[in-house]
Structures are given as structure tokens and as C-alpha cells.
Point group: C2
Chain length 169, copies 2
């Protein structure tokens, strides 16, 4: 029974790929709502704009970095985003102890896709700029994927990320 | 007389450097205003978040990319930003014909800093992913700097960028 559930979860997680790039909404007329850096993952948090900026802040503040890869037209990203933004404990810990970055486009750093470029995908980077490929979720085929039901597991991953590899930088 | 004015302008342009990284405002309490991707350079425009995303859009839309390097605590960036955002012709052309990106942190691409990492700095990239180092402003020591008074020159640079290197991509 557990196996069946796990298999089902694997199928669900596998549905979103980064092949479908999000199309931009460019209306010719009408007022646009300014785009936010949070993109709905936590409007009250301070988000880095780019990977370079995030690494800079991680190093200078000596805080681990969480990188979220997602797509706006991916229903799994959307459901995870909702659960993530509504989880007060998650948001508080991120605000206090993490540098955060959400990306819809892959970086040139291959270390950020240890087992592929699927979304949603959560990677942690140590202030020593080491991608923590050892911090994984519960899916063996998509090790950095988390579902809304995995919030506790993601919090455990965050707790692991907080134990820095090198505390004296 | 022209020389004196030019020298004065050079001094002004030379005042901002990227050494002073902007400090983040992280209040422990109180509601934050969500950060925008425009950062004041044009709230009604569609901004790319990262250089990778901007390159992707430039290639797929076959539009030139404008990259603006700036800092929030740099008065020259601030005055340029104000003039830039208020210039309706500029904003309209950018909306229709350009992919745009504003960055406060340098990328790993050295081609984006042909003569240094000063701010404010405006670089154009062709859809063929060639940085157009040939498109410059009026200052010989900071070739990619533009002041609020140089809006016409920046519009000319944009017109030059619109003549793509390779039209059949």
C-alpha cells in the first residue's frame, strides 16, 4: 500500500518539466500590476533577484541559501507555492535564517540540477558556496521535489541546511 | 568650455562604484512592501529577472536586450532612474521593442563590463547573444554610462541596438 502511494506521488511529481517555458503576458494597453520578486512564494520575505546576488548574501550573512525552481503554469508549482506561502513556521524560519531565491529559469550552474531540471525543485547552498546535494526530499527519482504534503520534510531539510558545513568562514 | 563641461560630467559619472553593496532592509516586524522587478525603472514594463531569462527572451522574441546596472544607494543611479522612468518615449520603445533587465549585482559574464563595473551602466545584447560593446554613450572613460541629460543619446543607442547584427536567426 505504501508502495502504491509512493508510486502515485512519483507520477504526480514527474508531471511538470521545464520544457514548457512560461509565456509572458504583454498587453498592448491597460495598467499592469508590477511583477514582484516573491512571485507569490512569500510577499513579506526579502528575495534575492539572481543567483549571484543570493550567493553574495549567503556568504556575507553566513546563512544557507534556499533556491526554488518553479514555473508559473505548472500546477504542482502552484499548489506547492500556496502551501509554502501559507506556512507561517516556514516563512518565519526563512525570514530569520535563510537567504532565498526563486527562479523560473535555470542558471548556468549544473550543480543546481543534480538529477535534472524539473520543477518544483528545492536546492540548498551552503555559505561556502557548496550545493548541498545531500539534502533531499522523499522521492527517489526526483530527489529535490517536495509536495504540499511534504512541508514537514522540507522543514527538516531546512534544519539540516542550517547546520553549516564550515561554521568559521 | 565644452571640455570643461565634459570634464565635470566625467567627474560626476565617476562617483559611483559597485564596491558599496546595498544593505538590505530587514525589519524584524512590520509589513513590508513586496519588492518589484522594475525597482522603479518602469513599473509598467515587463522585466526579466535574471540574465539567463533575459537572453532566453531576447533569442526567442528576436529583440535586443538592454541591461541596466545600478545601485539603490547611488545618487547617479537614482537620478537616472527617475528620468528614465518618466520618459514616455523611452518606456514605450522599451515595451515594444526590447527585452529589459535591471541588475544590482554583476553577472559572471565579463562581456557585460567592457570598461569596468561602475553604475549606472547600460549595455545592449543582440539576440545572437553578442554584447554590443560598440554601442556607447558620451563619456570616454565610462563608455556605457548615461546621465539624465543624455536621454536623447540613450534613445540613439537604442535605435542602434534595434538594427540587429543578424536579422535571420
Amino acid at each position: 500500500m505504501t508502495k502504491v502511494i509512493l508510486l502515485l506521488l512519483l507520477v504526480l511529481v514527474a508531471l511538470c518539466s521545464t520544457l514548457g517555458k512560461p509565456e509572458k503576458n504583454i498587453p498592448k494597453r491597460g495598467k499592469r500590476i508590477p511583477q514582484t520578486l516573491s512571485r507569490g512564494w512569500g510577499d513579506q520575505l526579502i528575495w534575492a533577484q539572481t543567483y549571484e546576488e543570493a550567493l553574495y548574501w549567503s556568504r556575507s550573512k553566513n546563512k544557507p541559501l534556499m533556491v526554488i525552481f518553479h514555473l508559473e503554469d505548472c500546477p504542482h508549482s502552484a499548489s506547492m507555492k500556496k502551501a509554502f506561502a501559507e506556512n507561517k513556521e516556514m516563512q518565519r524560519i526563512l525570514d530569520e535564517d535563510f537567504i532565498i531565491l526563486n527562479l523560473m529559469y535555470e542558471t548556468t550552474d549544473k550543480h543546481l540540477s543534480p538529477d535534472g531540471q524539473y520543477v518544483p525543485r528545492f536546492l540548498f547552498v551552503d555559505p561556502s558556496m557548496t550545493v548541498r546535494a545531500d539534502i533531499v526530499g522523499r522521492y527517489s527519482n526526483r530527489m529535490y521535489a517536495y509536495e504540499p504534503a511534504d512541508m514537514k520534510i522540507l522543514l527538516e531539510s531546512m534544519a539540516m541546511a542550517k547546520k553549516l558545513l564550515k561554521t568559521e568562514l
